[in-house]
């Protein structure tokens, strides 16, 4: 007898419909799965066998063939277990097969018949709604992810018997209470008021957060670059619903989602400098996403930027420019969203004390080598230079210049102004404005035009650098609450621009 169940497999961050066809016919007892299944799917035979028996059902002692269609699409992961088990139950006549074609089944089975969560629940839920199916039957642990998709009917099941009950026309189990893990991390995280004597750096960081500008923190060792960067998430605005769903889709597909309610805190990824290109960008194997994708709509913090391998840093150029990363390998290709705010920290020279003539022990050749590691197209995509300087001992006892809560208010206010202005163009922050948006939203006065023209003539700005300075100037105006960008904001933006040549203009 033949039964057909509906489920999904993950392709990148999206789910693709898979039809699980079960054929049971007389013959020597055997259970074969065909259709480009990976090891996890092949191992489903043993899980399904044990789960059926331990749930009080019969496992047909006949020849069972399961076909995962379409046959040319590779299938990964244990999410097919529930569909296979229900297909066998329907094909062997233990449950009716009427609802099998209108209900999507997604979940891993334990040997005792419990339905476990699988990666990519949110993507599967979205695909279920898109496919027009009546219900998604899935395990309880990740069911809250699926509730984010509005208008989708869910059948939450704790075990295989509950799934069988739903397919027989009954009701599923109760949706558990959501776990609360998100809000607490923001409240208990590091606060900007811990930073003392770095008022200028804090102000510049505030500008970076307000416009989501890529920034470079530069300064001697031990001055607090990492400390400042670690406090950036505390001043960033909460995720909007659409942004949160994008982030949750990524984290759900990669199994990194810890809570079950809608995310509010932006992702903050800080990989070690020994990371490989595949680790940063992705593509090590099918379905593997890199740190840039995990940092989507959040912050990617690269500490000790000069220690990263040059090819790894160069690979950041496309995602920084396009806001997405396109991974093409021999057997798979995928496009992932990767619109993140890059925060990098580095010493200005190998010893870290460049410019402090008594302390810097670097020769010109050392500085040139350090410059070569950092300069070029990557630095050209960085909008702001945050100079972090040594703090005099007496300033360490000063009152904090700004608390995270106050800074966050200012950032949110500035972002609201940006969103109001830019929402029609499909972006939310100034850093994402392209040349045409800059032309529309940024009208300079005569003095501003003169300053930009002078900066171009003196070779201080490239064409890309000019756009960068204008975006920062727009953010400064937003923070000041000004509708128009004036000469003052342009001048301040130029002073905050990073020097592509970090160590200044040396001799040759």
């Amino acid at each position: 007898m033949l039964a057909r169940a509906r489920t999904f497999t993950l392709e990148g961050l999206n789910a693709r419909a898979v039809s699980v066809e079960i054929d049971i016919r007389p013959g020597l007892p055997a259970f074969t799965i065909v259709g480009l299944a990976d090891a996890a799917v092949r191992e489903a035979r043993d899980r399904v066998h044990a789960a059926l028996l331990n749930s009080g059902f019969q496992f047909p002692a006949r020849r069972i063939t399961a076909n995962l269609a379409p046959a040319d699409v590779p299938k990964m992961g244990p999410g097919f277990d529930l569909a296979l088990a229900c297909g066998i139950l329907a094909a062997s006549g233990q449950i009716p097969s009427d609802l099998l074609d209108t209900h999507a089944l997604f979940g891993e089975l334990s040997l005792d018949g419990e339905v476990r969560a699988c990666h990519g629940t949110l993507a599967v839920a979205e695909a279920t709604k898109k496919a027009g199916l009546a219900m998604l039957v899935l395990g309880t642990p990740r069911a809250h992810e699926a509730t984010l998709v509005e208008g989708l009917s869910l059948g939450v099941v704790e075990c295989l018997t509950s799934a069988a009950r739903i397919l027989s026309g009954g009701v599923g189990d109760r949706l558990p209470e959501p776990s609360r893990t998100q809000a607490s991390t923001l409240r208990n995280g590091p606060d900007l008021s811990d930073v003392r004597g770095q008022d200028e750096a804090v102000r510049t960081l505030l500008v970076a957060a307000a416009g989501a500008h890529n920034s470079l923190l530069s300064g001697p060792p031990g001055t607090g670059k990492t400390m400042l960067a670690g406090r950036l998430p505390s001043i960033l605005p909460p995720l909007e619903r659409s942004e949160a769903i994008e982030v949750m889709r990524i984290h759900s597909a990669t199994g990194k989602l810890t809570g079950s309610e809608l995310l509010t805190e932006r992702p903050f990824r800080a990989p070690h400098h020994s990371i490989t290109t595949a680790g940063l960008i992705g593509g090590a194997r099918r379905g593997w996403v890199g740190e840039v994708v995990l940092a989507h709509n959040g912050v990617l913090f690269l500490d000790e930027l000069s220690e990263f391998a040059r090819p790894t840093l160069e690979a950041l150029r496309q995602p920084l420019e396009d806001g997405r990363v396109s991974i093409v390998r021999a057997r798979h290709s995928a496009v992932y969203p990767a619109r993140f705010m890059l925060i990098a920290a580095t010493n200005p020279c190998p010893c870290g004390y460049a410019g402090e003539r008594e302390r810097c022990a670097c020769r010109e050749v050392d500085l040139a080598r350090h410059r070569r590691r950092l300069s070029g197209p990557l630095l050209d995509r960085i909008d702001l230079l945050v100079r972090v300087e040594r703090t005099a001992a007496d300033h360490l006892a000063d009152e904090p210049s700004l608390s995270s809560a106050r800074a966050r208010e200012q950032v949110i206010e500035a972002r609201q102004r940006q969103a109001k202005r830019l929402r029609a163009d499909g972006v939310l922050v100034n850093a994402q404005m392209d040349a045409s948006m800059l032309r529309r939203h940024l009208k300079l006065d005569r003095r501003g035009e003169q300053i930009m023209a002078c900066a171009r003539e003196r070779g201080l700005l490239s064409a890309r650098g000019q756009h960068r300075a204008l975006r920062v100037a727009r953010t400064l105006a937003d923070l000041d609450g000004h509708e128009r960008v004036g000469a003052e904001q342009i001048s301040r933006a130029l002073a905050l621009r990073p020097e592509v040549d970090l160590s200044g203009r040396r001799a040759a």
Binding site: S218, A354, G355, R357, A368, I451, A495, L496, G504
Partner: protein, 366 residues
């Protein structure tokens, strides 16, 4: 074309043979002894510094025959003391190199040395302040018609050559290991620019091995070529003051740029000032030393001519006094936003430049 006579070629061969002994001389004795040794004629030189190999060297010296490499097959030009085009300032001194290789042409070299020549020297591990001062001095002097000469090394020397080129001048570079080898190699673009308008010379080296006494020999060539030696930044290490020592012994003008007393990189230049060197702050000071006070004026743009607003002049003064970052400037009481605006305006005027670590350095335009 090779303008090296056999006598001078034999001298080069002898110096190569005595290379390790000369290294030992410079390591174990003071510089004055090394200079006196270098002045000795060939046979006396062998007697003075070779010990166990003296007889062997005398025999080899007597039997020396010119090899094809020193008989006219080298690609670059070479001149010796007996060549008509050999610079007069070097010919008159026994300490000068017996021969040197040349790139850029005899005629161009003659033109360069017809003008007043100023050597700008200093430490290799120079600060951004030193680099900036060297650059501006070279730019201003070149614009005043002076030929700037420097050894081709990193630090102050390369900044001086770059400054001279910025003023569309023709600098003269003294190379350490032949005119065909650019050392440091990463300064190759600078070397190409030097050769486009200026010249490079290098003492003929018959040895392929780099010797420790070569930088001293270069310093001596610089001091003998120039009428004025300006030390921008130098420690008290002997090799950094070698050029000034030779200039002092030959009664040439010596000048130094003052530095911070707490900085090791300024101890040498400050020591020179204490011991009679002239103080140089800008190209005009160097011109006053060369021609006399008020005789020749450097074509510079004075700050008063710019008619700076008081707020900009104040920020410029603060940067010059070491408050070279926005944070330090803001700490001195100025509003942070005003500081950023002023810094940009001064940078756009060319009065400030970015230095090491994103700091600001005063940069006057000559």
């Amino acid at each position: 074309m090779n303008g090296v006579c056999q006598k001078c070629a034999r001298r080069d061969w002898l110096l190569a043979k005595l290379g390790s002994r000369l290294d030992r001389e410079i390591e174990r004795h003071d510089q004055s002894r090394f200079w006196s040794v270098l002045e000795l004629p060939d046979l006396e030189l062998i007697d003075a510094i070779s010990r166990r190999r003296r007889a062997e060297l005398h025999t080899a010296y007597a039997e020396w025959q010119p090899t094809p490499s020193c008989s006219g097959e080298q690609p670059q030009q070479a001149l010796c003391r007996h060549h008509a085009a050999y610079p007069r300032s070097l010919r008159e001194d026994a300490l000068s190199p017996h021969s040197f290789e040349l790139r850029g042409g005899v005629e161009r070299l003659r033109c360069l040395l017809e003008d007043k020549v100023v050597a700008i020297v200093g430490m290799r591990r120079a600060s951004d302040y030193g680099m900036q001062v060297a650059r501006e001095l070279a730019r201003g002097l070149t614009a005043s018609g002076i030929t700037v000469v420097s050894d081709f090394a990193e630090g102050i020397a390369s900044a001086a050559l770059a400054g001279a080129l910025e003023a569309d001048g023709a600098p003269l570079a003294v190379m350490s290991a032949g005119v065909e080898r650019c050392i440091p190699a990463w300064h190759a673009p600078l070397y190409r620019r030097v050769l486009q308008s200026g010249c490079s010379i290098a003492e003929s080296r018959a040895s392929a091995r780099t010797r420790r006494w070569w930088p001293y020999a270069n310093a001596r060539t610089l001091a003998l070529l120039a009428q004025l030696v300006i030390v921008v930044e130098a420690t008290e290490e002997p090799w950094e003051l070698a050029c000034a020592n030779v200039a002092f012994s030959r009664a040439r003008h010596i000048a130094a740029v003052p530095g911070r007393v707490s900085s090791p990189g300024s101890r040498g230049s400050n020591w020179l000032l204490m011991n009679g060197a002239r103080l140089v702050r800008e190209p005009q000071d160097a011109l006053d030393v060369l021609y006399g006070v008020g005789i020749c004026e450097a074509p510079h743009q004075s700050l008063t001519a710019l008619d700076l607003q008081p707020r900009l002049a104040n920020v410029l003064d603060l940067v010059g006094s070491g408050q070279d970052t926005p944070a330090k400037l803001a700490a001195s009481g100025t509003c942070s936003d005003e500081v950023l605006v002023a810094l940009t305006e001064l940078e756009l005027c060319g009065l400030l430049a970015r230095g090491d670590g994103g700091r600001y350095v005063p940069a006057r335009q000559f």
